[in-house]
C-alpha cells in the first residue's frame, strides 16, 4: 500500500476500510443476510442467531490458530483428527482409567496440545513441509483415536459437564463467550504484538525473517501447539455439546476451517490475513448454511452454494484488490 503524504480524511479512511479484504467480505455478508432475511422470517431472530453461534464455535475456535498458521505460509490439516483424539482421550481416561472428570478434561486438551506440538516439532526440527506432516498426522491422530476407543463411544457424563456446550451465560451460549473473548485477544495479538508481526514476516519471507534475528522456529512451534490446543478445546466443547464421545468427531472440519480462513481474505501463500476477516468468513458460512436451510433449500444443496460463494468471494476480492493496487 502506498503511504499517503498527508493525513487521510475521514472519508478516505472509510473508503480504505471498505475496499480492504474485510470490508468487501463484510459487504458480501450483509447482502447475503439481507437476502436471506427476505426469504424467511425465521432467519433473522435472536434465538436462531444465537443457536447458530453455538454451532459455529468449533470451527471458529480452530480458525484462529489456522489463520496464524496460514499467515506463516503453513497449513494444518490434522485439526479435525486432533479434535477426535482429544474427545477420545477425554472419554477414555474418564471411563477406562477412572480419572476424575476434571482431570480427564485437562488430559484431553493437553493431549491435543501435545499432538499439535508434535506437528510443530517435526516441521521445525526435521523440516517436513507442513502440508505433508499434517497430512500424515491427519491419518495418525485419527488412527490413534480409533485404536484407543476400539469404536466404543463414551456417554453418561454428569450434568455440570454439559454447561459449556449446552448452557447459557447472560442469555448467550456459554461457548460463544469463549469464542468472542478468544477472537478479541488473538486478533489483538496478531495485529498489535511482536509475535503477530513476526508471523507476517515469516509468511512473507521466512529466510529474511530468520536473518533478521526472529526466532522463527520458536514461533512456529508455538503456533502449531496453539493449533493443537484450540483443536483440543474444540473437541472438549463438541463432546459437551453432543453429550457423547466418538472417534469420528471432527472429521472433515479442516476443510470448513480452511474455507473460512481463505474466505476471510487470508492468502493461502502466507503473508496476509487477519483474525477479523477469518471470523467474518466463519460467520458468513454458518449463516449461509442456516439461512438457506430455513428458506427450504435442502442441506445438500447448500454446500453447492457455499463452494460457489468461496470461489466468487475470492474472485471479487482479487478484482477489487487489483483495482486498488492499480489505481
Amino acid at each position: 500500500m502506498q503511504s499517503a503524504p498527508r493525513n487521510p480524511t475521514v472519508v478516505e479512511k472509510l473508503r480504505r476500510y471498505l475496499i480492504s479484504q474485510e470490508g468487501v467480505l463484510f459487504l458480501i455478508m450483509l447482502v447475503a443476510v439481507l437476502f436471506l432475511a427476505t426469504r424467511t422470517d425465521k432467519f433473522l431472530t435472536v434465538d436462531n442467531l444465537l443457536q447458530q453461534g453455538r454451532f459455529m464455535t468449533e470451527v471458529g475456535l480452530i480458525a484462529i490458530p489456522m489463520t496464524y498458521i496460514i499467515i506463516t505460509g503453513g497449513i494444518d490439516l490434522s485439526v479435525g483428527s486432533i479434535m477426535g483424539l482429544t474427545a477420545i482421550v477425554l472419554g477414555w481416561s474418564w471411563q477406562e482409567l477412572g480419572f476424575p472428570l476434571e482431570l480427564a478434561i485437562v488430559t484431553g486438551v493437553l493431549s491435543g496440545t501435545l499432538a499439535g506440538f508434535v506437528n510443530g516439532l517435526f516441521i521445525v526440527r526435521v523440516g517436513v513441509p507442513p502440508l505433508i506432516m499434517t497430512l500424515a498426522t491427519l491419518a495418525l491422530f485419527r488412527g490413534l483415536a480409533e485404536g484407543i476407543s476400539q469404536a466404543r463411544s463414551a456417554r453418561g457424563y454428569p450434568e455440570w459437564f454439559f454447561e459449556l456446550g449446552q448452557g447459557e451465560v447472560l442469555g448467550i451460549p456459554t461457548q460463544l463467550w469463549l469464542v468472542i473473548v478468544s477472537v478479541i485477544i488473538f486478533a489483538i495479538v496478531l495485529a498489535r504484538t511482536q509475535l503477530g508481526r513476526a508471523l507476517y514476516a515469516i509468511g512473507n519471507n521466512e529466510t529474511g525473517a530468520r536473518f533478521s534475528g526472529l526466532r522463527v522456529n520458536r514461533y512456529l512451534l508455538l503456533i502449531y501447539s496453539f493449533s493443537g490446543f484450540m483443536s483440543g478445546l474444540a473437541g472438549y466443547i463438541f463432546v459437551s455439546r453432543v453429550s457423547t464421545t466418538r472417534s469420528d468427531m471432527g472429521t472433515g472440519i479442516e476443510l470448513d476451517v480452511i474455507a473460512a480462513v481463505v474466505l476471510g481474505g487470508t492468502s493461502i501463500f502466507g503473508g496476509t490475513g487477519s483474525v477479523v476477516g477469518t471470523m467474518i468468513g466463519v460467520v458468513l458460512i454458518q449463516l449461509l448454511k442456516n439461512g438457506l436451510a430455513l428458506s427450504g433449500v435442502t442441506s445438500d444443496a447448500t454446500i453447492v452454494v457455499i463452494g460457489s460463494v468461496l470461489i466468487f468471494a475470492i474472485l471479487v476480492n482479487n478484482f477489487v484488490q487489483l483495482r486498488r493496487d492499480g489505481s
Binding site: V126, L135, T137, A139, G143, D300
Partner: protein, 465 residues
C-alpha cells in the same frame, strides 16, 4: 568434467555370471514338468493347484530342488555385485532381494507342503515370475554397466531416489509379512490388491502432474463419485458401454478446464478453487443421485472385471498409463515445462513458457485421468455406490506425496506415485494378514506415511552433503 566421461568399466568375466545364471534359471523352469503341460494350457503355473496327497505329477521329485538353489545363487550374486564398484548397484541389490523373496517363499512352501497344506502352484506361481523377472534384470545388469565409477562407495547412494526407497519398503514388507503369514503372498491376494486399487494409482498420476506444476486438486474424490454414477446411469439408460466409458473422460476434462480457467486466468490459488469445487461437485452429486445406488448395468459394461491374457484389466491400464505418463513427463516438451513451471515459475516465464496454457493443460489432463479412474471404479463391482469413496482425495494426494512429489512443485515422478499407491495398499492388506486390529489400521498407516516421508528427507539431506 572430463573425469565424468571416463570409459565404461571393462566387462569382467564375473559380470557374465548373471547371464549364465539367468539362462540356467529360465532353462530349469521350462524343463520342469509343471510348466510344460500342454494338456492344461499355457497358464498352468497360475492354474494348477494340488495338495501333496493328490500329487500325481510327482512335481516334488522332478527337480524343484533346483529352485531354492537358484534363488540362493541370485541372492549371493546380487549381494556380491552390490559390493563391487562398477556394477549397477541398485539393480544388484534388487536382484539379491528378489532372490531372498524367492528363497523365503520356497522355505514357506516346503513347510506347508510337509504339513500337507500347500496349494501347490498358487504358492509357487509368483516366485516363478519373480525369478523370471530377476533373471531378466540380471541380463540387463550385465549389459548396462555403470558409466561412471564412483571414487568412494557409499551405501546411501543406493537410495538415490524416492522410487528405490519405496521399492525397498515394498519388498521388505512383502518379505516380513510373507514370513509371518505365507498366504499373504498368494497370487490371488496380490492381484486383488493391485487390481482393486489401480484406480487410485491412476488418479494419483493426474495429481502428480498437478502437484509438479505447484498446484493441487482436492476435488478429485467428489469428481470420481460424480463421474462414476454418471457413467453407470448412462449405460443403464441404454448408451453403449464404450460411450459410457468415454463420457466421464470428456466430462472430467470439462471440469478440469473449468478449474484450470479459474486458476490460470482468474488467478485464484488452486487449493481455494478445488476446495470450492469439492463442495459444489459433492452437492451436485447428492442432489442428483438422492442416495440411490446404480445397479443392473449390462454385462459388457464391467471394464475392470475383464481379464485379457489372464491379467486383470485395471492392472493393465495402471501399468500402461504409468509408463506413458512417466515417458511423457520425462521426454515431451510439455512434460518438461511442467517441471520448469513448478520449479521456478518466474524462470519458466522468462524462458517463454506460458503459465496459463500449462496450467490449463495440466488440469484438463488431470480431469481426464480422474475420468479414467472413475470408470475403473464404477466398473469394479456390480453396484455403483451413491457416495464417492470416503477421503479418496487424501489417498490420492498421499500417494503422490509419498511417491516423491514435492508439494512445493518441481519434482516427482509417475512411477514413484504408482509405487506409493501400491505400497500404501499393500500395507493396508498386510495388516489384515498379520492380525492387527482394524481399529489400529489408520494409526499404523499414518505412522508409515510419516516414516516414508522422513526417509525421503533424510536421503535428500545426505545428498546435499
Amino acid at each position: 568434467m572430463n573425469k565424468d566421461k571416463a570409459a565404461p568399466t571393462p566387462r569382467r568375466p564375473l559380470d557374465f555370471l548373471g547371464i549364465a545364471l539367468a539362462v540356467v534359471i529360465i532353462g530349469t523352469y521350462f524343463l520342469l514338468p509343471f510348466v510344460i503341460q500342454p494338456e492344461r494350457g499355457p497358464s498352468t503355473v497360475a492354474v494348477l493347484t494340488e495338495s501333496k496327497k493328490a500329487n500325481e505329477l510327482g512335481i516334488f521329485k522332478t527337480g524343484i530342488e533346483i529352485v531354492p538353489l537358484a534363488a540362493l545363487g541370485m541372492l549371493l550374486l546380487g549381494a556380491w555385485n552390490a559390493l563391487v564398484p562398477g556394477a549397477a548397484r541398485a539393480i544388484s541389490l534388487l536382484l539379491a532381494l528378489a532372490g531372498l523373496v524367492a528363497l523365503v517363499y520356497y522355505i514357506n512352501f516346503f513347510r506347508d507342503y510337509a504339513a500337507e497344506q500347500a496349494d501347490f502352484i498358487s504358492q509357487m506361481g509368483i516366485a516363478f515370475w519373480i525369478m523370471l523377472g530377476a533373471s531378466a534384470v540380471a541380463v540387463l545388469q550385465v549389459l548396462i554397466p555403470r558409466a561412471v565409477p564412483t571414487p568412494r562407495y557409499r551405501p546411501a547412494k543406493l537410495f538415490g531416489n524416492q522410487e528405490s526407497v519405496i521399492l525397498f519398503g515394498l519388498l521388505l514388507l512383502v518379505i516380513v509379512v510373507g514370513l509371518a503369514n505365507p498366504r499373504y503372498l498368494q497370487e490371488r491376494n496380490i492381484s486383488d490388491n493391485l487390481a482393486g486399487n489401480a484406480y487410485i494409482a491412476v488418479a494419483a498420476l493426474g495429481m502428480t502432474m498437478v502437484i509438479v506444476t505447484g498446484n493441487i486438486d482436492i476435488s478429485v474424490g467428489s469428481l470420481v463419485g460424480l463421474l462414476a454414477v454418471a457413467s453407470g446411469r448412462l449405460v443403464v439408460a441404454g448408451l453403449p458401454a464404450p460411450l459410457a466409458w468415454l463420457t466421464p473422460l470428456v466430462v472430467g476434462a470439462g471440469f478440469g478446464a473449468l478449474i484450470g480457467f479459474l486458476v490460470a486466468y482468474m488467478r485464484i490459488p488452486s487449493i481455494v478453487v478445488t476446495l470450492g469445487m469439492l463442495s459444489i461437485i459433492k452437492g451436485i452429486l447428492i442432489i442428483w443421485v438422492q442416495g440411490e445406488r446404480v445397479t443392473d448395468m449390462p454385462a459388457d459394461y464391467f471394464l475392470s472385471q475383464m481379464r485379457p491374457l489372464g491379467i486383470p484389466m485395471p492392472i493393465i491400464i495402471m501399468v500402461l498409463l504409468t509408463i506413458g505418463v512417466a515417458l511423457w513427463m520425462r521426454y515431451s516438451a510439455t512434460g518438461r515445462a511442467f517441471y520448469a513451471l513448478g520449479g521456478n515459475a518466474e524462470a519458466a516465464r522468462l524462458s517463454g513458457l506460458s503459465r496459463r496454457r500449462l496450467v490449463m493443460t495440466v488440469f484438463i489432463l488431470n480431469g481426464v485421468f480422474v475420468g479414467v479412474a472413475s470408470v475403473m471404479y464404477s466398473t469394479q463391482f456390480n453396484i455403483i455406490q451413491a457416495t464417492p469413496p470416503p477421503a479418496l482425495e487424501l489417498s490420492v494426494i498421499t500417494a503422490s506425496v509419498v511417491g516423491g512429489v514435492s508439494i512445493l512443485g518441481g519434482t516427482g515422478t509417475a512411477i514413484g506415485s504408482t509405487m506409493a499407491t501400491l505400497l500404501l495398499n499393500f500395507i493396508r492388506s498386510a495388516m489384515i494378514f498379520i492380525n492387527i486390529s482394524p481399529f489400529w489400521l489408520k494409526a499404523v498407516q499414518g505412522l508409515l506415511i510419516l516414516v516414508t516421508v522422513l526417509a525421503d528427507l533424510l536421503r535428500r539431506r545426505r545428498q546435499r552433503l
